[in-house]
């Protein structure tokens, strides 16, 4: 069930939320994924952009061009670091060596934000290179909270945890995803990285109301927003099955849902994520501007602290 609203229909009369601003150490602007294809362009042109985000694991190397360029870009831009390999939802214990390497990377680049996923990607010493889903019940909740605690204690900073895009559900789940997330936030004190595309993708895939998902999340907990493009397939019964592919521009329905979320949470640093079909930087920057325009819209003015 697809819902759509126009920006004119938005009305955000609520007062500014100080808690929100305190959470967001990144500039309350839009940023972009940092891709090696764009290293040189960025240093040559110094585009006006809120921040860059990297995937931690791409920089867990000893030296060479990745560190060379990131060091120079970090000198000029705010940074968020997004991990894809901690496997916080995994049954296996956290990889402590990996956690140590992340700590070193965070010390080196002092990002405003470090985030990870409500998912698992490793098992029994192997890394599967995908964000895999977990059932939502008391046992998995405990496991995730333990892992989040462990990460926050080791990194000595607050983690932002990202809501997942999922393609299956589990019959053993007896907690909704939003209640599961709220419980993690309350128990561990971590923040939420709200991926609007993931909300849309998962809601479509499991026939939930994406706005109800947004409405269920408490204001003041969202430290960052992700926007990305998806691709469309079909499930075994011909129902739409959206894939969180990050290889296309942000879809209109996701922009609408973004407006809706901004209305609820106020302005939040927002990333345009792109991992595939990487366009020239100017194209990515144009999408970043679209997000900036929404962050600066009249409807939200006055909610910025």
């Amino acid at each position: 069930m697809k819902t759509s609203i126009t920006s004119e229909s938005l009305s955000c009369g609520a007062p500014a939320q100080a808690a929100q601003a305190a959470l967001a150490e990144l500039p309350v602007r839009a940023g972009a994924s940092l891709k090696p294809d764009h290293f040189q362009y960025i240093l040559n042109h110094l585009p006006d952009i809120g921040f860059f985000e990297i995937h931690a694991e791409n920089y867990l190397v000893d030296g060479g061009p990745f560190h060379h360029y990131l060091t120079r870009i970090r000198e000029r831009y705010a940074l968020s670091i997004h991990g894809v390999g901690l496997s916080i939802g995994g049954e296996s214990p956290l990889d402590l060596q990996h956690l140590d390497r992340l700590a070193d990377l965070i010390d080196r680049y002092a990002p405003a934000v470090f985030s990870e996923h409500l998912a698992w990607s490793g098992h029994a010493g192997f890394f599967l290179n995908d964000l895999l889903p977990l059932p939502y019940h008391r046992a998995t909740l405990q496991r995730v909270c333990d892992h989040v605690d462990q990460v926050q204690n080791r990194l000595k900073r607050r983690l932002l945890l990202e809501n997942p895009a999922t393609y299956v559900e589990f019959s053993s789940s007896n907690i909704t995803e939003t209640d599961f997330i709220i419980e993690i936030l309350q128990r561990t004190g971590c923040g939420l990285l709200l991926d609007i595309n993931n909300v849309y993708v998962s809601s479509t895939n499991h026939i939930r109301d994406p706005r109800a998902y947004i409405d269920a999340l408490p204001p003041g907990t969202v430290g960052q927003i992700h926007l990305a493009g998806f691709s469309q397939e079909q499930d075994g019964a011909g129902a739409p099955l959206l894939i969180d592919s990050h290889d296309a521009p942000v879809a209109a329905a996701v922009w609408d849902l973004y407006d809706y979320a901004l209305c609820r949470f106020g302005p939040v640093p927002t990333l345009i994520e792109r991992d595939g079909n990487i366009p020239p930087f100017e194209v990515l920057q144009a999408e970043v501007r679209l997000a900036d325009e929404r962050l600066n819209s009249d409807a939200l003015r006055g909610r910025r602290s």
């Binding site: 995937h55 894809v84 995908d130 469309q232 969180d244 991992d275 595939g276």
Partner: protein, 109 residues
């Protein structure tokens, strides 16, 4: 224990190399100078240019947090024929190069 000639050879070679390096740095024409001196440039003469990798900052795979909608076809390598540039390469035993169908039939039989 080294032969006395070893020390002399090393001193001569190091001195010559350093002199050339300094001279070429001063002249700013490193490669021309070195070419005269039968240096590493001659080792690359078969290509005519110094070999430099392309797109180095992309070398190797990176991580992504995206899914893919690309479907992995269930190709069976045991029945596939290499169909790349290996076929353009001369082979002393076959005028049509490497990677021929015959070779695969031999293996699979």
């Amino acid at each position: 224990m080294n032969k006395p000639s070893t020390a002399a050879a090393l001193a001569f070679a190091l001195g010559t190399s350093l002199a050339l390096a300094t001279a070429s740095a001063q002249a700013g024409e490193m490669k021309d100078t070195m070419k005269d001196a039968k240096d590493m440039e001659s080792m690359e003469k078969c290509f005519g240019v110094a070999l430099k990798g392309k797109n180095d900052c992309k070398a190797g795979a990176g991580t992504s947090c995206a899914g893919t909608s690309k479907i992995d076809y269930q190709g069976n390598a045991w029945s596939l024929v290499p169909e790349g540039t290996c076929a353009e390469t001369a082979s002393p035993t076959s005028p049509t190069g490497f990677g021929q169908l015959e070779a695969f039939e031999e293996i699979s039989s």
